[in-house]
């Protein structure tokens, strides 16, 4: 296994600042915007985007966290159980422009689950998607609205996003399997 860094802390910072500007531009301001981070690493990313948008527009942006464990379509195949976190969105999403924030965009299945989870909480005016990394390999017809960096990958590589608030540092790296290891198609 070899790990190679793809984004430095500065790269991540620039990408997030750009996404924050794009969100404001696309929505002609930040009124009615709610940022919803997907557990676990989407949450700190959403908070950073909100801080930047608040500086730009001088209004408070609500930030929530969303856990999709209860909406997954692969429950019975999980044997390593990650903890189900609480979903916590401080405002009613009905009528709002909700921006989902996640670290890595891959098959699209977790975004599908997240949209179901959000819609169960109310009827947003729109749902948009912001991701730090898009690594391709979609299995569902879902696209992102804001992308930090596109990184073409193969299925047996792994993308790891480190964020200061969770992992103690900011970086994005790619882990290639050692030669001879079978493609596990995770």
């Amino acid at each position: 296994m070899s790990e190679r860094t793809l984004m430095s802390p500065q790269d991540m910072h620039r990408a997030l600042v750009r996404i924050a500007h794009e969100i404001v531009e696309r929505n002609r301001g930040a009124k009615d915007i709610v940022l919803v981070g997907m557990q676990t690493r989407g949450v700190p990313l959403a908070m950073r985007l909100a801080a930047t948008i608040q500086d730009l527009e001088e209004i408070t942006i609500p930030v929530g966290s969303l856990d999709i464990s209860l909406y997954r379509d692969d429950l019975s195949s999980l044997s390593l159980k990650p903890t189900v976190h609480r979903t916590d969105i401080p405002v009613d999403v009905a009528g709002k422009q909700v921006v989902l924030v996640d670290d890595v965009f891959y098959t699209g299945r977790s975004i599908r689950a997240a949209m179901d989870a959000l819609i169960d909480l109310g009827r947003p005016q729109s749902i948009q998607l912001a991701v730090l990394i898009d690594r391709g390999h979609r299995e569902l017809p879902i696209r992102s609205d804001y992308v930090g960096k596109n990184i073409p990958t193969s299925n047996n590589e792994e993308i790891k996003v480190y964020v200061k608030e969770v992992d103690g540092e900011d970086k994005v790296s790619i882990i290639a399997p050692a030669k001879g290891v079978a493609d596990e198609n995770s």
Partner: protein, 336 residues
Amino acid sequence: MKTVEPGPGIATPETLPPPSIAVWQHRHILDLDDFTREEIELVLETADAMAEVLTREVKRVPTLRGKTVVTMFYEPSTRTRASFELAAKNLSADTVSLDASKSSVTKGESLIDSLRTIQALGADFIVMRHSQSGAPYLATQHVNCSIINAGDGWHAHPSQALLDLYTIRRHLGKLDNLKVAIIGDIMHSRVARSNIWGMSTMGARIILCAPHTLLARGMESFLAKCQLPNVSIETDIEPALEDADVVMLLRLQTERQQSGLLPSLREYIQLYQLTTERLSLARQNVLVMHPGPINEGIEISPEVAHGTQSVIEEQVSNGVAIRMALLYLIAGGKNK
């Protein structure tokens, strides 16, 4: 870029539990004697997430869509059964409830035949209550469904113990070093037995308090053999209550009462009823708990049962979240 102060209630990395890679292996829930502390904590954390679902306007998530939960009760029950069925429905499972007194059991069908029939009908989970201790263990040997023990004889009632742990943790934050007095009919109580396992795994000190005749025979040697040094026995109620953080009453099980265990009900009330006066021996913020149903005026006085320290009704509401957590976790579990 500076980070924004999270609003109240938002999970921040500091408040999040450490990324859990606890391996959950239970496919059945039979008792808490084979649960590690990590596993119990996983159940309680999962129940927290389920509690959030219960606060929503639409209390339903699609997690167990297409799964079937059968409740099979050979003994009467109100709260446990309703609570399991609501939990299953909140997770979008289909539920079928079998009442043994109205089923083929009255035509002489054996337990194993009934279980096989239910499996053949397509059950994924069987929630069972039976008057014979060990019946759910037998069930796991004859069917492939996940079995959840909702009470077997005097032996175990794991979901009740877990909701007790959850209720205590919500109020007092942790269980480590808490003094818990379990008072009443210990001998016939499956709730007490499961709580002994669960609470001692979570680090509480437990005092079992009952007249000699209502303490299970051989309890001392059992505690010694199972290396449960944090559990002690007391036959007077006052020392048991002193500085207690939690007082759990048990129902005097009149239907299981053999003659001669108690000289008279009046004497039991005199010596063991939890009254306001006796409760003042415990800590000021003591929690009063009872697995229900309550015999008001026997093991507990009405003022205490409905008093400010009582969390008896909350135990019932927490039961739904705990049972949702259990169904969710065993749906993805492997073998054990």
